[in-house]
Symmetry: C2
Subunit: 460 residues, 2 copies
């Protein structure tokens, strides 16, 4: 380990990669993998492409971890940041305010569900969720129901990796090693449309799978503060998709039992599903809405937690009541990030923008046909601009590939050869491209995925 | 509440403030306070001054929540961001790397204590702490000591407000309302130099107050994963200061009992104490070092958790062992923020820069004399560029002002009248100015504080 592995030193001009190997611990990465395949050294990016030092380009079909909406180096977003930089990069956000944050808050309130009127800023998806959890807990404490201290989350749900956010995560891979220290929340069996226990289809069912949630809410109404879900698409679970009828039922049940609804639209918000927000598009009214990722179109870390006036009022009082929400990230509402977000929203709400996604969404479905026909296709699924193919060993039994086989990782390597940056989640190859992807690029993306999958799996 | 309060509408051009009041929930703020005194609407900033729309300026003596080092709108940092923006604002950091992050990691490793060789990036101080906590837990799990799941923290300690970070917070104001859901860690009575139970002075003592920590470590060595402290200055507790001998004892005791040492230098790092890092300056060797705030000189959110090769190796294995550290913030190592950080470190490590702080540090002490002479001065204390005066009702008994009196808030308002942005922590008026503050500005800052305090407290 003192010496960098062979894969590095045999390449010329790879000094930077050696320095990377010596000093950086990359996120969500087994660093030993880099002994054989070092990370791409990306120097610049343009549109939907990343460029390495040798000038090779890679199509960023997962939008740099689901954040980029309008491509890299977008002139309007770049300009917005440059102009704000000339005035002020940052200022504290307690006792002080600034126009980029005010504009952003007003726009978010305008385009989100009508009951959401207040915006609390933080830095990333995890903190946007933790803010919602803490506001919910403190709300109940200050309105005479201090026993409401638990949250319900779905199996397969993912809401970030700080310990609070992790306590509402329904994926063992993320939480198992920290189980002993996590707060005790309640996991509920959620929708699993590919393997629907009722044998129904997501297009026509009535969310019969809602029953466990209904029962859990009823049984725990006294102790539950809120329910948190990723609406329509469970991202980290492998882009698992379920129908909006589940959300309608959830809202009704939460209203009936006096429980907050927290929508985590960190991954699905800002146009990904073909509408600006899932909640707004389907006429849903969450108590909290958590936003991040696409909010700056993948330029800068920023997050927002939106909530209702009812919640806000439970904290609004004379100072000495100490009902205020004590939470203070130094970079709350960072003006540069707000400027990027304002430019992003400006682009998103331009007349006709969402309509122009329609043909792209259709094309993703059409081009995805080739994946549907693969002998290893358990399911090809799509919600707006998000699509995924779940690969299985056996189409009939839906038997999964053994984890040791690392099918996804091998497909990732094949993708790189084809200049497409796929990064499968386990055995799920997914696409969440920048919204500005063009028809010919959609075709290239799907063809590359098809070839990469076939190359890895033929003969298995 | 449907209508904005009178303080807003009577002012001209205050439409933005009304929008702020309607839509924004500010951090760490009782929003009702804004009915009488709305937040400053800051349009631009330059050097150590913030400018509002009417052209009034405020000296930023708390560096916009302790983040700014080189003043606002610094040409070198602005240029670094602009140049990076032309290439690439952001790219995912798993499977990909980039030069701004590599340069930054190498510099951090070079200037921090020698055993810290690996850098993990995230977005803010809370996450830098949560990363350290989780790495420590997972390290013990993967090295055969899964029972080590608790952390020791100091009374008065503050390490962020996500629920994991809050579980090692020793200040009731921040944690009490969430007590029921926090993981169970161990609070230890720490140094309290102003009210030293041994009647000693911090300049000459031998950290006799270390005894409770020594006993707790000894008693809980089997279950404790790590100890977390803010070295030398407990910021949120009111800039409470203690001597380095405490840290030497802590390091020895942790080594003897097999417990990780986590230094949270989020607030004190990057020159604040007159040295680059407390740990490096005092020859200390923590297992983890958490950094944020000043890392980008207050421009953009960024954080880093540094650790040792020993920790790293416990995660380094074949993928199928699943020993990897699964943690993935979308904006990890954001290139724009890394560019700002590289420019910041470039300025900090320029030959002679730290030496040039010396006369400023002396001047803060000298000018602070006027505060020391106040009849309400419990203590004037200073560590490098950080200074604070703890105001008390009675100098002899050190009796505090009742919380309902809101002495600190009134001093804040008086400060604004004198164009100085003080933001006391309770009854502690503190100064943590940008490192580039000039001698005449130090004098102005202290004079304004003296006047503001006197105006509020005379006659009490």
């Amino acid at each position: 380990m003192a010496n960098p592995p062979q894969a590095f030193v045999t390449r010329k001009q790879d000094e930077d990669r050696v320095r990377d190997f010596h000093h950086i611990w990359h996120p969500c990465t087994q660093m030993k993998d880099y002994e054989e395949v070092p990370p791409l050294l990306i120097d610049r990016a343009e549109g939907i492409y990343l460029y390495d030092r040798e000038g090779r380009r890679y199509m960023d079909v997962i939008s740099s971890w689901w954040v980029n909406l309008f491509g890299h180096n977008h002139p309007r977003i770049n300009r917005a940041i440059r102009e704000q930089l000339d005035k002020m990069a940052h200022v504290m956000f307690a006792g002080v305010t600034h126009q980029p944050a005010i504009d952003l808050a007003q726009t978010l309130v305008k385009v989100s569900p009508p009951k959401l009127t207040k915006v609390f800023f933080s830095d990333n998806g995890s903190t946007s969720v933790e803010v919602a959890l803490k506001m919910s807990l403190q709300y109940w404490l200050q309105t005479g129901k201090p026993q409401k201290t638990k949250f319900i989350y779905l199996k397969g749900g993912y809401h970030g990796e700080t310990l609070g956010a992790l306590s509402v995560c329904g994926i063992g891979l993320f939480r198992d090693k920290f189980e002993k220290v996590l707060m005790h929340n309640i996991e509920v069996e959620g929708p699993d449309c590919l393997r629907c226990p009722f044998g129904l289809e997501r297009e026509s069912c009535h969310a019969e799978c809602f029953e466990p949630m209904a029962q859990t809410l009823e049984k725990n109404r006294e102790s539950v503060a809120g329910v948190i879900v990723e609406p329509l698409v469970q991202g980290a679970a492998g882009m698992k998709m379920y129908p909006p009828v589940y959300l309608k039922k959830l809202e009704e049940a939460c209203q009936a039992t006096g429980v907050h609804v927290i929508y985590d639209e960190v991954a699905v918000g800002f146009g990904r599903t073909g509408s600006l927000f899932v909640s707004e598009h389907h006429g849903l009214n969450p108590t909290f809405l958590c936003l991040s990722k696409g909010i700056t179109s993948g330029y800068l870390p920023l997050a927002a937690t939106l909530t209702t006036d009812d919640i806000y009022q439970a904290f609004y009082d004379d100072y000495v009541s100490f009902k205020l929400f004590i939470r203070s990230h130094s970079y709350s509402a960072n003006p540069l990030a707000c400027a990027a977000a304002n430019a992003t929203l400006g682009l998103l709400i331009e007349p006709g923008f969402m309509d122009r996604l329609e043909p792209k969404i259709k094309m993703i479905g059409r081009e995805g046909e080739c994946l549907r026909d693969l002998p290893w296709c358990g399911e090809f699924r799509q919600t707006g601009m998000i699509a995924a193919v779940e690969l299985v060993k056996d189409r009939d039994t839906l038997e999964a590939f053994p984890i040791e086989q690392r099918v996804g990782y091998q497909i990732f390597l094949e993708g790189l050869k084809r200049e497409v940056y796929l990064r499968p989640l386990g055995n799920v190859v997914y696409f969440i491209p920048p919204l500005v992807i063009e028809p010919d690029q959609i075709a290239t993306m799907m063809t590359a995925a098809h070839e990469s999958i076939t190359t890895v799996l033929k003969g298995t």
